[in-house]
Each structure stands twice: as C-alpha cells, then as structure tokens.
C-alpha cells in the first residue's frame, strides 16, 4: 500500500485513513463498533447479513459498510434511528427462524447473535413463523452441523473455498429453504481442518470432540505452539479441570488463526491412558515401576561404567525435534559436557 491518506468524517468527527479500505475497516480502526455477522477476516465482502448498514450523506439508501470502499470526503453515520431500527429488524427476523436453545448451545457465550438478542432485549418475536428443520450432519468424528441454527452468513463456505481451496460444502437450494451442505448430501469428505467451525459465528457448526465439555467462561485459555509439524502454528488451549477441551487460534498470528486437523483436533493424546506415569526399569524382560531416585541412579551408574570401560565415544544420545530449545540445548550439553562425546544427533533428517 502506498502511504496516501484520505480525509472523511464518521459521526461528524473528521478522521484520516489509508486508501482502498472498506468503510467497516475504517470505522473499526477508529474504535467504533458496528455489529456484523457475515463479515470475516481475509474473506471477500459478502453483504448478506445487512447488519453493518450505515448512512452516507448524499445517498438516500443505507449501504453496507463491509462492501463499500471509503472515499475522500465521505460523511458516514454509523448510528441513527433508522439504522438502529433496521438492525433490530434484522435481528428479530433472524430470531424468528432460530431455535431458542441457547442453554444447550455449544456457542453460548461466544455467539454474536446471542449478544445482539440480549442487547436489543428481544424477548418476544412479533412475527413468529415457520422455522427450518434441524438437519444434523454425517458421522465424521470432527464436525457437527445443525442447519436449524445456520444464519447463512456463508463464512464456512467461503473459508473452505477462498482460504482452504477445498470447497467441500456449498449453498444448496434457494430462498427460505437455502441451506449449507455437501453435494447430494453425501458424507462430509474433506481435510477436516475445522476452518468452517472456527468461522461459524453461531452454533451451526461445532467441534464434536468438545461437545458438552465446558462453556467458554468455565475455561482458562493458554497460548502455546502446536506440537506437530514445523509450521509453528499458534494454538490457544482452552482448559477446564486440567483438561484441554478445545483448541482455537488467534487470527493475529503467523498462521492467521488457521489450523489443520492435527492442530485443531489433535491434542487429546495428552490425556491418553497410555501416558507414562512413572519411571520403569526392565528386570528379566519385564518393566517394573521404580522411583525417580532408583531410575536415575541406575542410569548414572551404567553410563559411568560404560564410560570407564569403553571410553566416552561408546556412549551416544538422540535428542528430540519435539522438545524445546532449552531441552535440546541441555541434552547436547549433557552428552558433550557430562558424557564427554559429540555423539549427539536427532531425527532432523527423517
């Protein structure tokens, strides 16, 4: 981007901003909140939810901030009676076709629709009517779809196509019956990266492994790095009662919040019953539980023994590409300084 700047006004306040930005970007840059449902980082504007409607002096109609480029001298209003009225109208319509089951919904607490309903205090819907039926998804172990909660913002479809380049799901049918699904309603057959789950604002797409494990406010979140491949994706682990119940990723990272099936769904091994619980010493072919003391003394003794009998270079160590820098440093320090040999390597090449 060239450093050019333009001047325009938002709610009467003059501001300057860069070129080729959408009104929504500019407004948010200036700390003003506009509700949105179909807007999603890195995806092309869609303009379907109609919540980001704003007034622009000289244009009689309300226009969507997400899809309109801000231009020099624009006079933008983000709040007015008309705007407020239409936003409430949209939310009321959405709720008229939405199950009122927030108490069971996985998304409760992180659902922008729930927040809007709360802010607008929409207890009773003036025009109730037909609701779309629940069509629950196939038997894949990762992703659950409930179309009755779907608001058709298209974020899942767009992220699957625009970012993941897979296009496993799409819009089906049209009008009130429009829904998201797979061709001929086959079983979902994709990379199971879960980008769709992460981008779904409501409870229409949820992660099966996290089902009923805990509410967002019941969890503690810890930022760390994915233990799998070398991409170094940033993970946010959501922990409840010392268990990882779900994994997300912050959009403001090198992986832009995107993960693969391993990063998003692959952390449960940490809680696997096979985890080693205590040191083991092999006695005539059988592993016997031992204390740290016993185990370490034994190892130290054996290493010293071999060192003395066969020399330093008869000992060797294999370090780990899955351990931390600190641990790898310490390991080679141990091999070199304590065992006195350079016989240290790891499986970088494998």
């Amino acid at each position: 981007m060239d450093g050019k700047k333009i001047v325009l006004s938002i709610n009467g306040k003059e501001i300057t901003c860069g070129l080729n930005k959408t009104i929504l970007d500019v407004v948010r840059e200036n700390g003003i909140q506009i509700p949105t449902l179909c807007d999603c980082k890195n995806l092309a504007p869609f303009g379907a939810c109609r919540l980001c409607l704003v007034e622009i002096e000289g244009i009689p109609k309300l226009i969507t901030a997400c899809s309109t480029i801000a231009v020099k001298g624009m006079k933008i209003r983000t709040e007015s009676e008309r705007i407020d009225k239409s936003r409430r109208f949209i939310v009321e319509l959405l709720l008229s076709d939405h199950p009122f089951d927030c108490m069971f919904c996985e998304q409760a607490g992180t659902c922008p629709l729930q927040d809007l309903a709360y802010e607008y205090g929409m207890k009773n819907i003036r025009f109730p009517g037909e609701k779309r039926a629940t069509i629950t998804d196939d038997t894949n172990p990762f992703i659950e779809r409930d179309n009755s909660k779907c608001i058709l913002c298209g974020r899942c479809v767009r992220v699957c196509d625009e970012i993941q380049g897979v296009g496993a799901i799409g819009f089906i049918d049209r009008g009130f019956q429009t829904r998201i699904g797979t061709p001929f309603d086959r079983n979902l057959d994709c990379e199971f990266c879960g980008q769709c789950v992460a981008s779904c604002p409501v409870g229409a797409l949820t992660a099966k492994p996290s089902k009923q494990k805990g509410r967002i406010w019941q969890t503690r979140s810890v930022k760390t790095i994915c233990p799998y491949c070398g991409c170094g994706c940033n993970l946010t682990l959501h922990v409840r009662d010392n268990k990882i119940i779900s994994v997300t990723s912050d959009p403001d990272t090198l992986n832009e919040g995107y993960l693969c099936s391993k990063g998003r769904f692959g952390c449960d091994y940490v809680h696997h019953p096979d985890r080693l619980q205590y040191p083991l010493i092999k006695k005539d072919g059988q592993f016997i539980r031992s204390s740290w003391e016993q185990a370490l003394t034994l190892v130290a003794m054996k290493f010293k023994e071999i060192k003395e009998q066969h020399g330093n270079d008869s000992l060797a160590g294999l370090s780990s590409a899955k351990c931390t820098n600190e641990e790898n440093y310490l390991f080679q320090k141990f091999i070199r300084a304590v065992l006195g040999t350079n016989n240290v390597d790891h499986c970088a090449r494998l």
């Binding site: 790095i225 090198l254 391993k262 270079d313 790898n328 390597d345």
Partner: protein, 540 residues
Amino acid sequence: MAGLATAFGSGAMTNSIAEIAGAETILVIGSNTTEAHPIVGLQVKKAVKKHGAKLIVADPRPIDLTRLADIWLPLKPGTNVALLNGMMKVIIEEGLEDQRFIAERTEGYEEFKKVIDALDLEETAQITGVSVSLIREAARMYAQAEKASILYAMGITQHSSGTGHVLSTANLAMLTGNVGKESAGVNPLRGQSNVQGACDMGCLPNVLPGYQKVSDAGVLSKFENKWNVPLSNKPGLTVTEMFHGALTGEVKGLYVMGENPMLSDPDLNKVKKALESLEFLVVQDIFLTETAKMADVVLPAVSFAEKEGTVTNTERRVQKMNKALESTGEGKEDWKIIKDLAGAMGYAMHYPAAENIFRELSGLTPIYNGITYERIDPHGIQWPCPSVHHPGTKYLHHRRFSKGLGKFSPVEYTPPAEIVDDEYPFILTTGRILFHFHTGSMSRRVFSLNEISPEGFLEMSAKDADYLGIESNEEVVVKSRRGKLKVKALVKKNFLAGTVFLPFHFHESPANILTNTALDPVAKIPELKVCAVKIEKIKK
C-alpha cells in the same frame, strides 16, 4: 541442510512463510505441502488463488497441489537433480539467467556451467520421465518471474545423493538471482515442531549451538569456559552411524529423548538388531513407544501442554510455549530430567526455570543473542538476531550471503543406491499424510484422527493394479530386500506407473521395514524416498 549451508552459509529457510504468498512463481519439489505442512500450503493456495501466482509441482505423485498447478512434472523418484539440471540447461540456453547476480554475488559458476553444458535434454527426459517441452515450459515459468520461490522437503533430502539435490535447488535459485530478496528463495520445510531448534541448539554431531563447529578451537574453548569442562573436538556419530556402531560394538550405551527410531529410521530390522546389541538403552518419552519397549530404563517425560519453553519453527521463528496443564503422574519436563541425571552423574546444573537455560544458550549462540522471553511474546523473533535491538530477520542473504559469496556447485545426476530389477520391479517412496504425524505416537492416540485414518495403505497406479490383478482395498504383501509387510492397496487413476507409495506412520504396516539405509555421504541422510520392492497378491 548441509547442502544449503555449503551454497549459502545457512541451512534454514531463506524466507518467511508469509512471503510465499508474494511469490510470482512457486516451484514445489519433493514436498507434499498441503499434507505435511498444511499452513504453508495455505500460503501457496493464497499465492495462486488470490494473487494469480504460477505454480510448478515436481512430484512423482498427483499430490493435492497438482489441482492448482500450472505445470505438474511427474518425475521418477530420485531424479530431482536431473530435472533441475535440465531446467538450468534451458535457462542458460535461452539466456534467462541473471548475469549480474551471478557476477556480483556468486562464485564457482564456470565449473558448474561445464556440467550443465555437457547435458543432453533428451537424456534428461529419459532419466526423469518428464518431456523436454514440459521441462522447457517449467524452466521459463520459473526464470521469467521477478520473484520465484522454491519449496522443498524430505523429497529432496532423503536420497543417497540428497546433498546434491539440495545444491541443485540452490544453483537454480542463484542462476536466476532468486535468493536474498523478499518472496524469492530456497525454502526447506521442517518436518517437526522443533527440528530447526534442535539443529540450532547443536544436537548435531559436528556443531555446537548456533552451528559453531566442534573442530573450531576458539568456539570449543568458549564453551569449555562457560561449562567449565574439557570438550571433545572430534565430530561424533549421526543417527544411522550410531546404529551401525551399536552393531559393530563400538557404541554400548544410548540415551534417547523423545525419539522413536523403531518406526522412523530405515531398515527397521537392522535398527532392532542394533538396539538389542546395546549394553544399555535409556528412553525418555511420554508413551511406551516401539523404541521405549526395548529400553532398560524408561523415564516418563511430559507433553508440550505441560511444559514451558521455546521452539523454533521452519521459518526460524523462535516462539514461546506455555504451560497449560499440571502433570498428572510423576512425569517431568525433559530438561528437569536431564538436570537431575547430570546431578546424579556429579555434574551440577542450576536452573530454577526454563528461562534460565534460555539465557545461557542465547549467550552462547550468536544467532540467538538478541532473543529474550520478553521479546518473543507474543509474535516470536526470527533468527539471526544478534542483539536485543535487532528486529530479527525476515529473509536471509539480503545483499550478502551468510558465507559471503553464494557458491555454485557442479552436481551430476547419480541414480538412487537401489534401482529396480526383475525381482523388485517397483520403486517405493514413503512420506507423510495429512491426518497423522511422524511415528504416530501422538496422532495415532487421538480418537478423531485415528477414526478418520485408522490404517496404512499402499498407493499404486491403476495400470500396475490391473497388471497384478489387484483391486482397491485389497490387502497385499510388499517385500524389499530387507523386509516385508501387509497393507491395503489404494488404486489411483493418474498415479505414476512403476511407483508405489507408503505412509510411515503406521506400526501395523511400518514402511521403514522396507527402506534402504544407503546414506548421503555428506549429510548422512538415508535414502527413504527410493527403494526397490515387489508387490504380491495374497492367495486366498
């Protein structure tokens, strides 16, 4: 890795992951990026779908990326050098090389050029199985781009001539001046969360942390002072040499931390023998892996979620891992175990926390000098970072290669150590799949991942399957000179005939029971990507 170090002076990715999206042409060679490095894969997709970049995929298999590719070069396994040399031949013939860059920034061009000039493209086509016209098209597409980026992985390195393959990628980049600038370079993709870090930290037989040679007296004394012990200046053994040593009796005791050679290393039967012939084996891990089962002592470590520390990703970014869980058993952080063991052996280590270790290592490691825990929160820093005021390095070799001038190396094509014959008529190549990781010790223990991908498979062409009368999902026996295994066949329409593929994650069908230990003489990397096998139908 050794290859890039020779050419550029550093073995790491020259660019950042995010820069890939900015490339005009991307050459993916020997990397199934979207499966082995999915997030790097996204950047390639972004480059192509959003910015209209050109994509060349050189791979024996019709990998996912070929869908997006402008050109797919279905080369025979192990013929990367021939292909790359062929492309460079075209580039020089058509005067598409970057003379200025060659003149100002490189050395050894003339000797290198001799090899290329001697080439005959028809022969190249013969060797690689890729038509001359395709090679030409690819060469032009790569050379004519302002910014061209090469991505490669084990498909390049895991050959008995792997170093040569790597040098060839470096040659191609230098020939066209596609290195040392944003979005253009040579990018080896690292397979595991901290391969880069393990190398940076000197878990290599010939170098200390920061790639400082053990043979360098000055370096050695620096570490001797800091650690106050005398150190050996004799380069040690590599993994495969260690196992060999074990068999010859030269190696008696082995300490394995978080590794599973019993699945990851070539010729598993040989590995097994080697481990059995050891006098003493200590394995430190979070699961009782195939390797741990063979240990005399097993030390319980803890998982990534239960420890704090730093890891360095494939783009040289040092990032912070934080502790999320308390260990449920007696397992301890690996560094604490090492510390205690050192203590038990009479060498006291004083580290109240991981951060203390980091302070020590960054002090001894020039490329890490400027990195601190404070500075890497939240976005990490890319080495080299020589001082606390240095922002880190997005891409390497800007204006000047780490080793001064970039070095062209004449590389001639040498065939794989094991070639097909009447008895073993198929080339087996191995690799990773999307839903599993390395030896599966982690991913195989994830319910959902194991549910979606519960078993190994043998990818083969419809042509070969018809010939052998094999159907998809039929169980077959795969044999090599070193071993055999049973696995289901997966017949693929546009798969290269004469080649078969096995993922190595599955202990039920361990690909590496078949693979060859033939080593690259320089990098000591075994030839996991090419060996000769036969496929037998199971008689009912």
